[in-house]
């Protein structure tokens, strides 16, 4: 029982990180339709930010975290300006920015790989290691509550949803579509960065950490559905529980357990591509 509870807490914490990455995807997909696979690299960049500020410069955690998240907002905003907006303004479909963002993914990873030593680099825990899982869960819940309140209760959030529902009608209201897109990328980068920073103490900062996170987050998104913010968290939790319980209890070699998210991804894409939670129609 003890063992089961510990596993459940640890799965919840992992699920929170997946949920954050899924939320990052969702923030950008909802208003723009663009699937940005560079979220994994953004999480990786934030993890390296944690290494530089918290490990090398030993800044206090809240300060370091604040700087990393502010930097990620900027990264998202700049990415939108250089890799998305020029294509959208020329009237390209969503596939063009998706491919451009794959380019951003590769460039980001290579910049990090030539700038840092190839070994995994340590990032400190925010709180004592035995309480760290609860810290991750608490921060994630706060982010999701804030995101939910933003979308449901503020005019800004409603504007984002309006753009998701009907771009033309939203434009006719006077909603600035370019600004919504810029904000969604800045927010997406910050949320992905938060996920990367939170997971970094457990897995260390490494230039190859992005792609697995991108896949796990995308799987969580597909499970939960892109319709609602809560879906991202639900998808992340379900995926993490499935992963960890497979590793712990299923009689298969540990290496195969890494295939669980991909298996889930395939099952959901075939059986229920809209995800578990439907958007309110």
């Amino acid at each position: 029982m003890q063992d089961f509870l510990e596993l459940a807490v640890s799965a919840t914490a992992s699920g929170c990180v997946y949920g954050l990455i899924a939320l990052a995807y969702l923030l950008m997909i909802r208003p723009t339709g663009i699937i940005n696979f560079a979220v994994g690299e953004w999480a990786m960049v934030a993890a390296f930010g944690g290494y530089v500020l918290l490990t090398q410069h030993e800044l206090p955690y809240p300060l370091g975290m604040g700087i990393v998240l502010a930097f990620m907002l900027l990264v998202g905003w700049v990415t939108e300006r250089i890799a998305v907006r020029p294509l959208v303004e020329k009237g390209a479909g969503v596939l063009a920015p998706i491919l451009a963002l794959l380019g951003v993914l590769v460039i980001t990873r290579e910049i990090i790989s030539v700038s840092f030593p190839p070994d995994p680099l340590p990032v400190p825990f925010a709180v004592d290691i035995q309480y760290y899982k609860y810290f991750v869960i608490g921060i994630t819940l706060a982010v999701f509550v804030a995101a939910w309140l933003f979308f449901e209760k503020t005019v800004w959030g409603r504007s984002f949803e309006a753009v998701a529902l009907n771009r033309r009608a939203a434009a006719l209201m006077g909603i600035n579509l370019s600004r919504v897109t810029a904000f969604s990328f800045a927010g997406g980068a910050a949320v992905a960065g938060l996920g990367g920073l939170l997971v970094a103490p457990n897995i260390s900062a490494h230039y190859l950490m992005g792609v697995p996170l991108a896949i796990q987050g995308f799987t969580a998104l597909v499970i939960g559905g892109v319709g609602r913010v809560e879906g991202a968290l639900l998808g992340g939790l379900l995926l993490a529980f499935a992963e960890q319980f497979t590793i712990r209890y299923a009689p298969i070699p540990g290496g195969f357990a890494q295939g669980v998210p991909l298996l889930f991804l395939m099952i959901f894409l075939i059986m229920r591509p809209t995800g578990l939670l439907k958007a309110r129609a």
């Binding site: 009237g91 005019v155 409603r158 504007s159 949803e161 309006a162 529902l165 009907n166 033309r168 009608a169 939203a170 434009a171 006719l172 209201m173 006077g174 909603i175 600035n176 579509l177 370019s178 958007a279 309110r280 129609a281």
Partner: protein
């Protein structure tokens, strides 16, 4: 108030509008007629900046709107009630109206009071999801939503399409009230009887060009009224 000169606009290589000239004076109600595919909705899109390829001049209160983005045009005081209403179905009536006011510079409560006064049915249903409203109520919501930005020029694209006669009368009465407040209206309307009874002047758009501009009173007396589009299109081709 609104002067359109040589406006060309379209979606692909071939422009739908091929040099449109028209003007609307302050306080006027002008109807825009024409057969399907003449470019009426494209003109509405060009006026509101939701179409990219535009050239020529759209002067509204001495600002050229041709180079402005849609949100800036709303700020200038032009609002469109689009064809097909385009309300946000999952949002409540009130949230739909709130979004209409994202560019509002005045007091929000005054706008709510104004719209709810014009359409009391919307007030009754303010918490209801827009998607659950009847077609007529959705049209009222679309008009109310456009009014939330406190526009000085209201564009309407076929506001009576597919509505029951009773609802048409209700919405007409509301538009009449709006006109009495001094609001300028430019309305796309296919049904000649409604358009001629409501507007003071009309333009007929044929194949992306203005084929006729006439006062509605004299237009209504035309002997070829029934075949108006056909005769104009024939004359246009000749």
């Amino acid at each position: 108030m609104l002067h359109i000169r040589d406006l060309t606009a379209g979606y692909g290589a071939a422009p739908v509008l091929q040099g449109v000239n028209l003007h609307v004076d302050r306080g006027e109600t002008v109807a825009l007629l024409g057969p399907n595919g003449a470019g009426k909705s494209t003109l509405m899109a060009a006026l509101t900046g939701t179409i990219r390829n535009r050239s020529g001049e759209v002067s509204f209160e001495n600002h050229n709107l041709v180079f402005e983005a849609s949100h800036a045009i709303v700020s200038r005081g032009v609002a469109l009630v689009p064809e097909g209403r385009l309300v946000f179905p999952p949002f409540s009536v009130e949230d739909n109206l709130r979004l209409g006011a994202v560019r509002l510079k005045g007091r929000l409560q005054e706008r709510y009071d104004f719209v709810y006064g014009l359409f009391p049915r919307l007030a009754e249903r303010r918490r209801q999801a827009a998607g659950t409203l009847s077609g007529g109520e959705q049209q009222m919501l679309a008009i109310g939503r456009a009014l939330m930005s406190n526009p000085r020029l209201l564009l309407l694209d076929e506001p009576f399409l597919g509505l029951a006669p009773k609802v048409v009368a209700e919405i007409r009465a509301a538009l009449e009230k709006l006109r009495q407040t001094g609001l300028t209206l430019l309305m796309v309307e296919q049904k000649l009887d409604i358009a001629l009874g409501f507007a003071s002047r009309a333009y007929v758009l044929i194949k992306g060009r203005v084929a006729l501009e006439e006062g509605t009173a004299s237009l209504a007396r035309r002997p070829d009224l029934r075949d108006l589009y056909f005769s104009l299109a024939t004359a246009h081709n000749a």
